[in-house]
Subunit: 326 residues, 2 copies
């Protein structure tokens, strides 16, 4: 039996945790993660791709699993010295993490694309799943707050999401194109998973790159999403407040509605069981399971349940007869 | 009594150790160190200025005094991660040290000159002596060995000076000009000290920048050098082998001869007392003292003896009546 080719749309921490489970139920080399780069930023002249690094470090087994980002047991000596040079240090780049940014920046300056650099890093970290930035062009998320427009990381890390979100702009998206492997991977996919990430500034950013949403609509593979909203709130991050500010219903229904034009199945947490009929009224199948990723076992179980939810689902031109699991 | 303005021509470790003594016998703010940049190199896309950093870290009290370079108690976690990315790591940049290179590189890319960047770093490290690169243009020392031409750091660090030196080229020197403060400092100096550095690849590199040697010849201040060769050998580094290969006498006499066109006084170690008449036969006053910088006290004593050696020495147009000491 051929393993299914699974494409996952991914933000940062929540997505990486889901992917940690996914690589245990599908051969890792059959997985392609298409990762948000709207959070990318420059610190000290270095190109930082936070979501890509979270995914890479997590799949490489290097991540600081407590916080969900950065390298485990990292030190912060370079950052301390940069402080001595009078620089801001609110974006906590550890010494090992800095090495990634130094190397990425050198390769980018040498003319490689972000996809090429990401593929190189992935290889060196022995990550066998493909990790693909949504675009090789710069796309940057900006957040309008009562204090004015802020680059995403200033809103998210420096100001700890304390500001009201009045508006979101994904600058550069309209001019960007998907990275070379993105559309190809979606076209060849047997299953597409929308990870439990922020529907506005993680998945929404990916969808803002022209061509990606269309590819999801037309692709032969069924598309499943895991709701990042459980019991009316996010487990982590500002997605709930952002959705409220954007006039969206803060629930799995609100998320399903945002993806309604391409979504086949929505995975809801058991706490949200009563929302299932409302999701189904959108023409999206609702599957209820425990979505809280407490530990590795729970992540694996969720990945299994997510793929199982697609078991009998087909858009009618899936090229392989596939089943989840090995 | 006005403090003398002292200008020191400086390489790396030996010079920095001498300067550590000098700042204890002259007010640090009266000292300008003109530093070799022929050793500068690029690692991981970062601009590294090894001799400038040795001087800065030493004067800031941050240096790893065992090895004479790098930051004390530094960690090497970024370097270890860069190894994981398949990169060479023979140039041992610690995490704190890397911060200097990251910050320098960002400022240089932003359009600042190496002098401006060095002055900024000096300030942030609370170094009150001026530290000036010999030039803002790239000058790079290359070493010809039986294996071919090697960039200086490959010869010096990667291959640990194991190769025979057939030739030395200071590439870019002919097209370079002295950094803005260099000639000005020499013209305004009350005393000039040539630190106990390699006469070929440290001081020789500085002298290769057009205008600097002329400024030393014409300046009103007397010029004193401390011999880096003691008892026919160097305490550290390949200066002795390089001098031999260049057909120079490997002794304080050989060093004095290399500086004869601008040198007034040569400080010799007591082991080389018998060489004094030969130095004096070059028209250079010889002063004999203990030049081994065992500890801070010895460094201070050597600095004192060096300035004292110039006490009654004048080129006749020194703008101030000055005496060494505070």
């Amino acid at each position: 039996m051929t393993s299914p080719r699974v494409v996952a749309l991914s933000g940062g921490v929540g997505a990486a945790r889901f992917l940690q489970g996914l690589v245990r139920v599908v051969p890792p080399e059959c997985i392609t993660a298409i990762v948000n780069t709207g959070d990318d930023s420059e610190f000290y002249g270095l190109h930082v791709s936070p979501d890509i690094d979270i995914v890479l470090y997590t799949l490489a087994g290097l991540v600081d699993s407590e916080q969900g980002w950065g390298v485990v047991d990292d030190t912060f000596n370079a950052l301390q010295m940069l402080e001595q040079y009078g620089l801001e240090s609110w974006f906590r780049l550890g010494d090992r993490d800095l090495a990634t940014q130094i190397h990425r920046t050198e390769l980018l300056r040498g003319g490689q694309t972000l996809s090429q650099v990401t593929d190189h890093l992935r290889n060196r970290l022995n990550v066998t799943s493909l990790v693909v930035p949504m675009s090789d062009q710069p796309v940057r998320t900006w957040i309008r707050t009562p204090e004015g427009w802020l680059p995403f990381q200033e809103y998210f890390v420096k100001r700890r999401t304390a500001d009201d979100v009045l508006d979101i702009e994904v600058r550069g998206a309209a001019e960007a194109c998907p990275a070379p492997e993105v559309i190809e991977a979606l076209d060849a996919a047997d299953r597409v998973v929308i990870c439990p990430s922020n529907p506005l500034v993680s998945i929404g950013t990916i969808l803002a790159v022209p061509g990606i949403r269309d590819a999801l609509r037309r692709c032969g593979a069924p598309v499943v999403a895991i709701s990042p909203i459980v019991g009316g709130a996010t487990l982590k991050g500002p997605a709930d407040r952002m959705m409220r500010a954007a006039g969206m219903e803060v629930s799995a229904v609100g998320v399903a509605r945002a993806y309604a034009d391409f979504l086949d199945v929505m995975v809801l947490d058991e706490q949200d069981r009563t929302l299932a009929p409302r999701v189904e009224s959108l023409g999206i199948r609702a599957v209820v399971t425990d979505t809280i990723m407490r530990d590795l076992h729970a992540k694996e179980r969720l990945a299994w349940a997510t793929l199982a939810a697609l078991g009998s689902c087909s858009r009618g031109r899936s090229p392989h007869q596939v089943h989840p699991g090995r």
